[in-house]
C-alpha cells in the first residue's frame, strides 16, 4: 500500500546532522515525509565527523556484547552495498601479541561464530606477511570484514539522498527552544548562526538526534534522557603502516585499534566522561596511552610523528558514574510520549556510525507508529547518492 501521500502531510524536524540525524532524514524522506534537518554547525561537525572511522565488523563486541556485534555485522554488510563510495573495504585483523591474547582467541572465535561474523585464522607468519609492521611478538591473528569509512562523506551521502527526496538541510541553524502546547511539541525555535535571525519552525514531530547534546534538547521540552557524553582520544600518525585495520585480540580496552586511512594510521581510543562536550580538553596521559598501546601491536608507531590529535564525545546511554565501557553501545529510541507524557517528540541516541541506518529504521518505525502510518522501510535496498551530490542538489 502506498501511504506516502499520507506521510507527505507531516513535517518532521530532525535536530542534528551527524550520522544518526543524516540517516534518519534519509529514511524519513524515503518514506515520504516532509523533512527539515537543523544542524548548528557544519555537517558532521559533532561526534560523527571526528570518530575513529572504523566500519565495525562486530568483532570488537562479539564476546561481551553480542547484541551490538550482530547489529554491526548486519549493518556492515548493508552499508558496503548501498554506500560503496564512502568506505574502504580493506578488512581487519585481530592480532595477538602475548599469551593472554592467544588465550582470548578461542572465545573470540566462538563469538564470531555466535554472531555470524565471517572470520579466518592466520598464523603469525601469515599475519606478518600481510602486515609487515606488526610486532615481532605477534603470535597469531584473526581476519574479519572490518572497513574504514569517511564519516563526513557518509553523512553527506545520506543527506544528498534525503535532499533528492525533498528534504531541506540547514547547516548553521541552532535549535534554541522547543514550543510545547498541551503536552505536545509543536514547533522549534531556531537561531540562524549565519544571518543572526531567530525564527520558529512548525513541526508535526521532532526527532532529536543531537548526539551527546541530546540532553540539552530534551531539557528544552522539560524532559530528560540518560545520555552521557563520553569522549575518547585518537591520534592520527603520519604514514600508513597497515593496509588492514589492526585490532588487539583481547577484551576491548584503550588504544587497541589502529585504523589506516589514506596516508595515515589512526590509533584509538580511550574513554572518560564530561559534562560539556563543546570543547574537550584532552588529558595528556590519554594521548600518551595511544602511543604506548598502539605500539604494542605496531612498534613503528612509536617512531613516527603524529599528524592530528583529537577527541570527541560518544553519546552513550547510561548515567555519569557508571563504568563507561560497560554501557552497551546499542542505541535506544525514546518516545517521550511513553516516557514523559510529551507528544510529538522522539530522541534517538547511542549506537555507532556503523549502525546509523538501523538506528534510523528503528526511529522512523516509531515515528510511523505514532502517526498511525504503515510505511515499510526501504533504506536497506536503496542505493545512496554520491556525497558530492549533497552540494549539487
Amino acid at each position: 500500500m502506498n501511504m506516502s501521500e499520507h506521510s507527505q502531510k507531516y513535517h518532521v524536524v530532525v535536530i542534528g546532522a551527524g550520522s544518526t540525524g543524516a540517516a534518519v532524514a534519509h529514511d524519513l524522506a524515503l518514506r515520504g515525509f516532509k523533512v527539515t534537518v537543523l544542524e548548528r554547525g557544519e555537517i558532521a561537525s559533532g561526534t560523527t565527523g571526528r570518530n575513529h572511522c572504523l566500519l565495525h565488523s562486530g568483532g570488537r563486541y562479539c564476546v561481551k556484547d553480542q547484541e551490538s556485534a550482530v547489529e554491526c555485522i548486519e549493518e556492515n554488510m548493508i552499508l558496503r552495498k548501498i554506500m560503496p563510495e564512502a568506505m574502504e573495504l580493506n578488512g581487519g585483523l585481530f592480532v595477538a601479541v602475548n599469551d593472554e591474547d592467544m588465550a582470548y582467541k578461542q572465545s573470540f572465535i566462538e563469538g564470531c561464530e555466535a554472531t555470524g561474523i565471517p572470520y579466518k585464522e592466520l598464523n603469525a607468519s601469515e599475519a606478518r606477511r600481510r602486515e609487515p609492521y606488526l610486532s615481532e611478538k605477534t603470535l597469531g591473528a584473526v581476519w574479519v570484514p572490518d572497513g574504514v569509512f569517511e564519516p563526513m562523506r557518509m553523512c553527506m551521502s545520506f543527506l544528498a539522498s534525503a535532499k533528492q527526496n525533498g528534504a531541506m538541510v540547514r547547516p548553521y541553524v541552532e535549535v534554541t527552544g522547543l514550543q510545547v502546547e498541551d503536552q505536545r511539541v509543536v514547533a522549534v525555535e531556531v537561531w540562524d548562526r549565519i544571518s543572526g535571525e531567530e525564527s520558529v519552525i512548525h513541526a508535526d514531530l521532532v526527532v532529536n538526534a543531537a548526539g551527546p547534546w541530546a540532553g540539552m534538547i530534551t531539557d528544552m521540552a522539560g524532559v530528560d534522557v540518560p545520555v552521557v557524553a563520553t569522549p575518547g582520544v585518537m591520534v592520527s600518525m603520519t604514514g600508513r603502516y597497515c593496509q588492514l585495520v589492526v585490532n588487539r585480540l583481547n577484551v576491548s580496552s584503550d588504544g587497541d585499534i589502529v585504523v589506516p586511512q589514506r596516508e595515515t594510521s589512526i590509533i584509538g581510543t580511550s574513554s572518560w566522561t564530561v559534562e560539556d562536550a563543546d570543547y574537550i580538553e584532552m588529558p595528556e596521559d590519554h594521548i600518551q596511552m595511544m602511543y604506548d598501546r598502539g605500539s604494542e601491536m605496531m612498534p613503528i608507531l612509536r617512531e613516527v610523528e603524529p599528524r592530528g590529535i583529537f577527541a570527541v564525545a560518544r553519546p552513550l546511554i547510561g548515567r555519569i558514574g557508571e563504568d563507561e565501557r560497560e554501557i552497551a553501545r546499542t542505541f535506544k529510541c525514546f518516545d517521550h510520549a511513553d516516557r514523559d507524557g510529551v507528544e510529538g517528540f522522539v530522541t534517538i541516541a547511542g549506537g555507532k556510525t556503523t549502525t546509523a541506518r538501523a538506528m534510523a529504521e528503528g526511529t522512523v518505525d516509531v515515528v510511523c507508529a505514532k502517526l498511525d502510518l504503515e510505511i515499510p522501510c526501504a533504506t536497506k535496498e536503496t542505493q545512496l547518492l554520491s556525497y558530492r551530490a549533497y552540494y549539487t542538489i
Partner: protein, 142 residues
C-alpha cells in the same frame, strides 16, 4: 511566524547568499609568502609586460629616424650615457629571465621534465644570471 522552509539560495546553505569572491589581479604580483613557483610566475609576467613596454619604446625611438639625422645623433649620445646603459642591463635581465623562464614553462607545460620543474627553474635562472653577468660586462666595456 516565519515559514518552515527557507527560500532558495546557495544549495548547501539554503536561504544564504554567499559573497562572490572578487578578482584579485594583485595576486599576480604577490610572490611573498608563497613558494618558488609564484616567483617564476610573477617574474615572467613582470618581464613579459616590461618587454612589451620596451618594444613600444623601441619603436618610438626608431621613429626618430624619420625626424632626421640630428635628433638621431643626440639620441645616440644619450644612449651611451651610464644611466641608459644601466637600463640596457635591466632590459637584458628581463629578456634573459623571461626567455629562459619561458623555455621552462614551455618544456614543463608540454609534459617534459615535470618532476624536475623546480630544479629546471633554478637552473634556468642560474643560466640567465651567468649570461647577464657576461652581457652586462660587455655593455659597459664597449
Amino acid at each position: 511566524m516565519a515559514v518552515s522552509n527557507a527560500p532558495e539560495g546557495s544549495r548547501a546553505y539554503p536561504g544564504q547568499q554567499p559573497r562572490e569572491p572578487q578578482k584579485r589581479v594583485l595576486r599576480w604580483f604577490q610572490p611573498f609568502n608563497r613558494s618558488l613557483g609564484t616567483w617564476s610566475f610573477t617574474l615572467n609576467r613582470v618581464t613579459g609586460i616590461g618587454l612589451v613596454v620596451y618594444l613600444y619604446l623601441h619603436l618610438g625611438v626608431l621613429s626618430l629616424l624619420l625626424v632626421g639625422e640630428e635628433s638621431w645623433d643626440t639620441f645616440l649620445a644619450v644612449a651611451k650615457s651610464p644611466p641608459v646603459l644601466v637600463m640596457d642591463v635591466v632590459l637584458l635581465a628581463g629578456l634573459l629571465i623571461h626567455g629562459f623562464n619561458g623555455l621552462r614553462v614551455a618544456l614543463v607545460g608540454s609534459g617534459f621534465m615535470v618532476k624536475q620543474q623546480r630544479q629546471l627553474f633554478i637552473g634556468m635562472m642560474v643560466l640567465a644570471l651567468i649570461l647577464l653577468v657576461i652581457g652586462g660586462t660587455a655593455v659597459f666595456l664597449k
